[in-house]
Symmetry: C2
Subunit: 415 residues, 2 copies
């Protein structure tokens, strides 16, 4: 007997037939003698519609208490319907909203963080052979207001619940077969990955792979919780996300992620004295702007430096406003920016022990005639910023160069 | 300054433009210096859709804990959107779900009764100049499950909240201009009524008038709460429901209600001994069947009686099943029933002091050649059961006979 948390996304519960299908998948786990908690999202499209309505009634930016009240309603429908569908199959089941469990969060509406989950009700229901059907995405703040965890937050709900329940694993059902070596909608040679390490998945999710919410992977990594990513619509095995030590073969490069939501900003002719760079990034952080890649280079004149960094392209106007305010204090010569850039990241835990990964990347891109504008690295990742026009060419070439194409194996480290 | 509860039905909040319109109506009351709590229904059509989904995932009859979880979600959307729309107009507003207030009910899912409303949060918000936007239709059971009050239950939510808040009045906004002398969609000469007594409204609602939930009127009558019924879509004055003592002129007949959901059942040749009739109605009550008009008449043979009563036509099969089970014990000869009947009720508090109301009814119907099958009365109501085919003819003739046609006044009692 195992204790598992199953999570179903919006496309898996998009209509009543699919909800009945989900009930069958849950029943199969119950019939194996497992204790099961199920976390569900809203029907696909519902949350989008609710967001449209909130924008229609009020010219507001961002989230608020009332925004969360509206957008949290979609999950209430699906938990009730799934509990009914399970009861109809003879499975004992009960729905739970965040305030009933409760799922305690902080007060940050629209992007709340889970503080603690009281699992006593669900454990009691397990004792009575009941399936707990839990609303994802939502929480309850200390002042009893409804909160939401941000788009994609149901993944985090599921993983956090699995950790709190000391579950054996968390199965994330979605509309794709698992995690791919790169985006299969874009690169036809992409392959499904059987096993991936938590750390690799964390890099992939944070570098643009959309299959899992980054925060969900971070929580799973922190607690060593095994995750399976698999399709609710067919019965193929999916991708297992496991601790690095459990990987039998460590790929040097496991997968390639990309992001097109990038803008490169350069401050030209910045005075080269201590504290200047700190002032800039402090001001950007205060405006809630995430800065990603950062490079400082000495200007031709000698006494000045050029500072280049990347931000989300949707933030570019805000960034320019913040920097313009600082211009008098900082005394830089000019700001230039470019939003026609994209970031490609190759990720693999084998990189730690295998030199030459960067060399392959630079040679491959050079052979394609692609100029690298910025580089950043972690222990298991190399990211480059290139011109958007070369995205597909670069992905295809790198996918081949690192041996990720279907029916092809490349560098492996020893176990 | 007054303290008022405003209630908006599904058609008044059916899209974001209408919700913005409702926000303007609420702001107008706030600008007058009033303390305002608003009760809203789900967008029209939403609850129907949710019920369809519950039926699609499970072959179940009636309501359950999970049914209530699903159908209570519609009000969560409209309270959040209305609070946002009010904030957008510069009005301080906060949404409240039943569990947050709380709105305590019993455990009867799908048809719960309000036990107590804790108004402390709303009174505190009034003190801070805030409008409380409250989800109608829903409640919370002692075991913290979500309950619903039955279709049309938002009227009851609003009236119960108004009583608990010791409000000066409750304004029920709907898609018609008020309460009419009879159904204006059916009888073109129907007129809007300016004033109606609680007791009259209670008789009208329970005899088929659909403008207000019967339980809402009963609660208002019990506590002497003034109600206004008016349109959210135009600015005409509506109908005031007040205590009988406040009526300046008491109509002998204020309005005529009708119901087509009627079936007449006759048990022929029932043994005439004590306890038999009690056994029958006890069995029907145990099967949750409401019996309305009842007549017992001596059979031609002398030792037997015929028992006739009416039930909702949707219950007719269930009634026959219950009676068939009893046949051996009761020894009646036959059951006959007829669903091609309708009930017409004339209502007016002036009836108490004015004889001759029944005479007009019987004469008018006789002149139309309409046979009366059953009669029942209260102090302020006369109801007759007639063949369905004569419904419109009877309504038109009675509307004229009692002086209810537009631009026409008939019998008035002294003040």
């Amino acid at each position: 007997m195992a204790r598992i948390v199953m999570k179903f996304g919006g496309t898996s519960v998009s209509n009543t037939d699919r909800i009945k299908n989900v009930a069958c998948l849950v029943k199969a786990e119950v019939d194996l003698g497992n204790e099961v908690a199920v976390v569900v999202s809203a029907m696909s499209g519902t949350t989008d519609q609710l967001v449209v309505w909130t924008n229609a009634v009020a010219q507001m930016k961002g989230s608020s208490r009332e925004y969360d009240v509206v957008v949290a309603s979609g999950e209430q429908i699906t938990v009730g319907l799934l509990a009914l569908a399970l009861q109809n199959l003879g499975v004992k089941a009960k729905s739970w909203l965040a305030w009933q469990i409760p799922f305690y969060t902080d007060c940050v509406h629209g992007n709340a963080r889970i503080v603690r989950i009281d699992t006593s009700i669900i454990r009691k229901d397990f004792g009575e052979g009941k399936v707990a059907v839990v609303a994802g995405f939502q929480g309850i703040a200390p002042n009893k207001s409804i909160t939401t965890l941000g788009r994609g937050g149901s993944d985090t709900s599921a993983v956090a619940l699995a950790v709190s329940l000391e579950a054996d694993r968390c199965d994330i059902y979605t509309d794709v077969e698992g995690v791919y070596t790169t985006d299969p909608h874009f690169i036809t040679k992409a392959r499904k990955i059987d096993f991936v390490a938590h750390e690799e998945m964390l890099e992939l999710a944070s570098q643009g792979a959309k299959v899992l919410h980054t925060r969900a992977v971070a929580v799973a990594a922190l607690h060593g919780l095994p995750i399976q990513v698999l399709s609710s619509l067919d019965k193929k095995p999916g991708t297992s996300i496991v601790e690095e030590g459990e990987l039998v073969e460590k790929q040097v490069v496991t997968a390639i992620a990309y992001s097109t939501d990038e803008a490169k900003v350069t401050l030209i002719g910045l005075t080269d004295c201590p504290g200047v760079v700190g002032t800039i990034f402090e001001a950007l952080a205060d405006a809630d702007i995430n800065v990603d890649m950062i490079v400082q280079s000495v200007s031709q004149s000698g006494n000045f430096v050029d500072l280049t960094f990347t931000v989300s392209s949707s933030n570019i106007n805000l960034v320019c406003n913040v920097l313009n305010v600082l211009k008098k204090d900082l005394g830089y010569i000019d700001i230039v920016y470019n939003t026609m850039v994209c970031k490609i990241s190759v990720v693999g835990v084998g990189m730690r022990s295998e030199p030459g990964v960067a060399k392959i990347m630079f040679r491959t891109l050079a052979e394609c005639g692609i100029n690298i504008q910025l580089i950043s690295t972690s222990e298991i990742r190399i990211s480059v910023l290139i011109s958007s026009g070369y995205l597909k060419l670069a992905l295809q070439a790198l996918h081949t160069a690192y041996g990720l194409d279907a029916n092809c194996k490349f560098i492996k480290s020893n176990n």
